[in-house]
Subunit: 239 residues, 2 copies
């Protein structure tokens, strides 16, 4: 594990940064659970699990607010520099991504409840399961990478988003064909498409979290670079 923080005159400051980091990882854990549960709720047609996902939204919003306040307070009081400043800015941005991942999980939960109300759902189970498992794994690995400041892991996860995008497009094509063959299914298939869309968005947000981690560790802004360029940049950049 790398040590990013510079020597602080104040132990109190160290504690504040550590608390911030812990809150971020806690929020990540809740969001990860939301995504996994929303997926499981869909696969099992489990309405009460879907409701659980929705209920967790208030916890996520609360943590989002707490973390943002902590960032502002540390910036005002401690006037951090270098690695500490980057850590705060990185968490401040990454937390918005986590919050939106939670929002997408909530959307999946809502769609699941609608599908349960309307009776059995057509197609899409296999695709949703595959893509959902992929993005759940991505979130898990991203939080691990944040906890260990592991930039190689972050790059690996960010690259997986490409596969998610490809899988999403393939799934969409097959659902469109299915709708053409059975137009009466269109409304219900649409629910499945919105779920896929949410999973694809979760992949995007997770990639952004990884990019913020790369900024934290390396101090380079990689948001508008291709993954190959990021890889090359990171390798030539000193720690």
């Amino acid at each position: 594990m790398k040590e990013l923080t510079t020597d602080h005159t104040s132990q109190q400051f160290n504690n504040e940064l550590e608390t911030l980091r812990q809150h971020f990882l806690t929020m990540g854990g809740v969001v990860e659970e939301q995504v996994q549960d929303s997926l499981q709720a869909f696969l099992d047609s489990n309405g009460s699990l879907a409701q659980d996902v929705k209920n967790k939204d208030s916890t996520v919003n609360e943590l989002d607010g707490i973390i943002d306040e902590e960032c502002t307070r540390i910036l005002a009081k401690r006037q951090p520099a270098a690695g500490d400043l980057r850590m705060i800015l990185s968490i401040s941005k990454a937390v918005s991504e986590l919050e939106r991942i939670g929002d997408e999980a909530k959307k999946i939960a809502n769609l699941t409840m609608q599908l349960i109300d309307e009776g059995e759902s057509p197609r899409g189970y296999v695709e949703i399961n595959r893509i959902g498992t992929m993005v759940s794994r991505m979130i898990h690995d991203t939080l691990d990478a944040y906890a260990r400041l592991d930039i190689d892991a972050a790059i690996k996860v960010a690259k997986q988003d490409r596969t998610v995008d490809m899988e999403y497009k393939t799934a969409l094509r097959s659902l469109v064909t299915y709708m053409m063959e059975d137009p009466r299914s269109i409304t219900r298939v649409f629910h499945v498409i919105w779920i896929l869309r949410s999973l694809e968005r979760i992949g995007d947000h997770t990639r952004h979290v990884c990019q913020h981690l790369i900024f934290l560790v390396k101090g380079i802004d990689v948001r508008h670079m291709s993954m190959d360029k990021i890889d090359a940049q990171v390798k030539t950049q000193p720690e």
Copy 2:
């Protein structure tokens, strides 16, 4: 116009904040143009205008990077407090929303090009025109509100997002009905639906920019409040 910045010992610091604000408004202007042009390109089936929208993406990304660097530099060098700190944090977050609005405009441009390639497009013109005009106006008014730090205008714009969401749902329902009646149109109608979806997202991002402005001026985090609650909070909060 309200004066937010506290007295600075350094004129140089004032200049830096003003430059940051100007860059933010410049980036907003480019993004506003992208949205308007992507809409016009769709309505006129104008492929070269759609290409213009895509070309502007690099300008937006560049400004995004510049603004982020400026925020980091000012935070490290000037150690701002109170209103100045809020301004930097607010701009730092709002700029990510602008960047995503630009991304959605680029998606609309891409979809427009595909529709042009595939021949005349079915339905959806009226709806896209209506919702597109609404969100273009919202962006314009948001940037005005930022320039004047006008919180009442920001609340007004944020509330309009509700109307966008309702219009979007209505449009979607009518397109689903249309697809059921004419299943051969499904693929092309999907392009129209993705454009509507992008416009709806642009409305969301614009609302978030407004919420960051309210945080800037009032120092309260309104991201997870209903619009009515925001209204009430802002009215009871001293300037």
